[in-house]
Every structure is written in C-alpha cells, then in structure tokens.
C-alpha cells in the first residue's frame, strides 16, 4: 500500500523542485515547503554545475581567463567578457580605441536583446504559453547570425579581449544590425499583443512576488529586479563605462515591485537597447579595433574592481593581483546569486504557480549562480 506521502509534523508537504524541473531552466534544486498550494519556505540547493570558475581563473593568464567567463552567464557572454577585459585594462591602464569601444557597446546591447528575448520566451513558457518561445527565438536567431558573422560563434564568443575586440566587425555588420532593428521594432509590438496585454498573463503577474525597495537593496538584487522596485541600479547610468556617458538612453524604472513590473522593465529595456543601437550603428568611428598590448600581460600588484550591467544586473569582477601573469584571486560578483537569495522572500506566501512566475521574472541563469 501507499506509504504516507512525506508530510512533516505540521502537515506541510516538502517537494523537491529540481535539479531536473522544467521551470528552473537548468539544474537548480529548490526544496519547497508547501501547505496545500501555498508556499511556506524555499531553500535553494546549488552546486550541480559548479565548475569553480574562480579557482580555474587563478591558473589562467589574463588573456586566457575571460573565455571561461562566457560560460558563467552564457546568455550575456559578451558582457561578461567585457567586464573581464575592462578590469584587466584598468590594471594595465590601457586606453581602448574609440572604434573598439563602440563595437563593444553594440555587441553588448545586441547580447542584452538576445538575453531578454530568451527570457521572454522562457518565462511565457513557464506560465504555460508555448508559442512565444518560438517567436522570441526567431528574432534571437537574427542576433545569433550577426554574432556568428562578426564574432565567429553564436553563444560563447570570446570576442571582447583586453585592449579591444578580437577582430574588426564584418563588412555586413552595420547593414544587418540596421535590418534587425527595423524587423525588431515591428515584432516587439507582436510580443505585446501575444503576451503583455493578455488578461490571463496579467492576472498571473500582477501583485505576484512583490518585493520592497529596501529589501531589494538589502538582498543585493540588481538589474531589472531592482529597477522594478524603483531602485536606481543601472551601472550604465550610475557608473558609466565605455561610451555610455555620451549615449542617450533612459534608465528604466518601475515602481510596482511585482512580477509584472519586472516584466515591464525588461520589455521596455528591449526598446531602449534598440534605441542605443540606432544611435551607434551609423556612427562607428574609424580606427584601430585593438589597442597595442604586450604579448604577456602582467597586472601590477593591487586590487581591481570593475562592474558592468549585464542583462541580469550588476556583474562585478574583482581581481587581486600579485604582479604575476595570472590573477592571485578573482571573484565574480554575479547578479543571479544575489537575485536568487531573494527568492525565498519573494515567493513565500504565494501559490506554487506564483513561484514559477517569480522565478521567471528573476531571470535566473544557473551557471551564473553556480559559477
């Protein structure tokens, strides 16, 4: 006969969501305590794909280590490489040529769009709508093609290197980006028709997974999660790097603090990224795409911290150098890790279905958390 299904003394049901579960987008393991359908507690268990990238980087040279970081948050691999490259440049005090800076920002924004696209499709799928996933991938495919042509790979490009970019842009790059912008502007309205306005979707999202501005800061959430609660956290605005200072764009802020606000922040960021691309696509300055650097890079003794805004929030690269060719200690402050720590706070008290919505809007990428 059936044994009593594992309830604890209070009659709460403990279920393991993951490590293989459709809603966790990877090998995240959540131990969820439920009372009926209501969530009492969520305990994340990590480490299923922990590769100890920080330790690996200690044995790689300053030129080599950034390729590993593509494998952290693989959806914004360019931006990870960018952070590493800038941190090394900060140590070497290398001036990056303006052409390289513009190219870097452009691929960053393309990556951000691609990442948000995938998030949008995957989140709609979490809520049970399958079609948006394919529609999102259609546009993401365009970005991947652009990346493939210029950077040589589709996901983990290793294109941004210390000193600039690995290769000059492909002759077709500008043309293709322009046609992508045109296409994307029309498709993004379709997204709103299909998902944003949908009454079922809005009911699933509004008022779900609310987090206050104080808690956002206390939990260290950054990126769209923080901005949805009205906290200024866009590194591109707060501590501008590269050419972001000279660009016209808005930091997207919402005040709702719930899943719908987080959704809207990302949807509006898509438009904002397209706006940035529009400003740059015809204004790529001529010149070198890479600064002259030594063959073997050696950072002076000291500590260097560089942060960038990835699609998920603030990524910090902290290098402790002893003056050798390899970093002594390297730490990645990953946005996903902090966002995940708030999950218990955000989703407890909601329904099981709300957990999926909250998790979807936190936009967790597990390799980013597990590093």
């Amino acid at each position: 006969m059936v044994e009593e299904i594992g309830t604890n003394e209070e009659g709460e049901l403990v279920i393991n969501m993951g490590p293989q579960h459709p809603a966790t987008h990877g090998v995240l393991h959540l131990v969820v305590t439920l009372q009926g359908e209501t969530i009492k507690k969520i305990e994340p268990h990590l480490g299923y794909i922990h590769r100890s990238i920080e330790k690996m980087c200690e044995s790689l040279t300053y030129r080599q280590f950034s390729y590993v970081t593509s494998r952290m948050d693989y959806l914004s691999s360019h931006i990870n490489n960018h952070a590493c490259a800038m941190c090394v440049e900060k140590g070497l005090q290398v001036e990056v040529p303006p052409r390289a800076q513009v190219i870097r920002v452009m691929v960053d924004e393309l990556t951000r769009i691609a990442s948000h696209e995938l998030w949008w499709g995957a989140m709609a799928m979490d809520l049970g709508a399958f079609t948006p996933f394919f529609h999102a991938f259609r546009e993401r495919e365009n970005i991947n093609d652009i990346m493939e042509e210029t950077c040589g790979a589709r996901l983990t490009m290793n294109y941004i290197v210390p000193g600039g970019v690995m290769a000059d842009i492909h002759p077709n790059f500008q043309k293709r980006v322009k046609s992508f912008i045109e296409l994307f502007r029309s498709k993004i309205d379709e997204y709103d028709e299909l998902v944003t306005g949908n009454i079922i979707f809005q009911n699933r999202m509004k008022g779900v997974g609310w987090i206050s501005a104080e808690d956002v800061v206390s939990y260290g959430c950054t990126g769209p999660v923080a901005r949805a609660s009205g906290v200024h956290s866009d590194i591109r605005k707060l501590f501008p790097y590269e050419i972001y200072e000279k660009l016209q764009f808005n930091e997207i802020l919402e005040t709702g603090g719930d899943s719908f606000a987080r959704y809207m922040v990302r949807m509006r960021e898509l438009r904002e990224s397209v706006h940035i691309l529009e400003q740059l696509v015809d204004n790529i300055p001529e010149g070198e795409f890479q600064a002259k650097t030594k063959a073997v890079l050696k950072l002076p003794k000291g500590e260097f911290y560089q942060r960038v805004e990835t699609a998920r929030g603030e990524l910090g690269v902290y290098i402790v150098s002893e003056g050798a060719t390899t970093p002594y200690r390297i730490k990645f402050r990953s946005p996903g890790f902090a966002n995940l720590s708030a999950l218990d706070h955000i989703a407890a008290g909601g329904k099981l279905g709300d957990l999926v919505a909250s998790m979807g809007t936190l936009d967790l990428v597990i390799p980013d958390i597990d590093r």
Binding site: E214, D215, G220, G316, R329
Partner: protein, 152 residues
Amino acid sequence: MTSEALKSTITALLPEAVFEEGGEWLALQLVPEQWRPLALQLRQHPELGFDFLFCVTCVDWKTHLSMVYHLRSTKLGHHLVVKVKLDRSNPAIETVSDIWRTAEFNEREAYEMFGVKFLHHPDLRLLILPDGWEGRNPMRKDFEDPVNMIKL
C-alpha cells in the same frame, strides 16, 4: 561623500581604524572583533548609509585569510572596502547577514569554499558543495582534488 570625509567620519566611529591607500575606493583594515559593531554603524549612520553590500570575497593569503566586503550607499553613492584579517587555522568572524540580507548566501559560500566560520549565522550549511564535504575547502590555495585536477 569624498574619501577624506568618509575617513574622518569612520575615524570618529572607530579611532583605531587603519586605512589603506592606493585602491580605487577607500579601504579599511580591521580585526574580526571590530567588524560587526562597525558594520552596524556603517549601515545606520545617516551620513554613511552603506545599505548595499555588493561583493563579499574571501582571499587566501597562505599566511592568513582576509574577508573583503565591498559596500556602497545607494542613496549617497559612495563606496567603502572593508578588509578583515582572519586567522588561517581557525577563521571566525561575526555574521552580518542580519544587517545585509545578501550576506547570508555569500557567507555560506565563503564558509564552504574557505572554511570561514560566521558566528551567529542563521543557517550556516553547505550551499554549493555536496553533503558530507565538510572539512576540505576547495578554494584555498593548498587544496588539491585528488580526482578531478587537470594540470596544465
């Protein structure tokens, strides 16, 4: 607030504070006992208001460990780096997870990777490593995995 002003405000709170020059941001060197009382002050002092702990790092210096806390004030926009020197054989420091909630996970990570004990931490368990791993700290410099080490 400029780093000079920060320096004087912090010196008023903790006269024996040792500052470190040369970095991007003002850095402060502490011993473990000084850390928690100062942390409370840093969080609550109206002129400091460090409400965002954005990076928690542990560094193994072979002779000792040091915890590095990167702090920022979201309202006032200034930064502070706090470095706490720990004994390598028995590293222990008070937790700050009730002051900054983000520290809870970061301290758990530092606990398993470096073996730093965070006193009064609400839930100091392994987060990343598999159960039964206790005792070996993979991120320390002298750690060698007998099974999976690829030497280059």
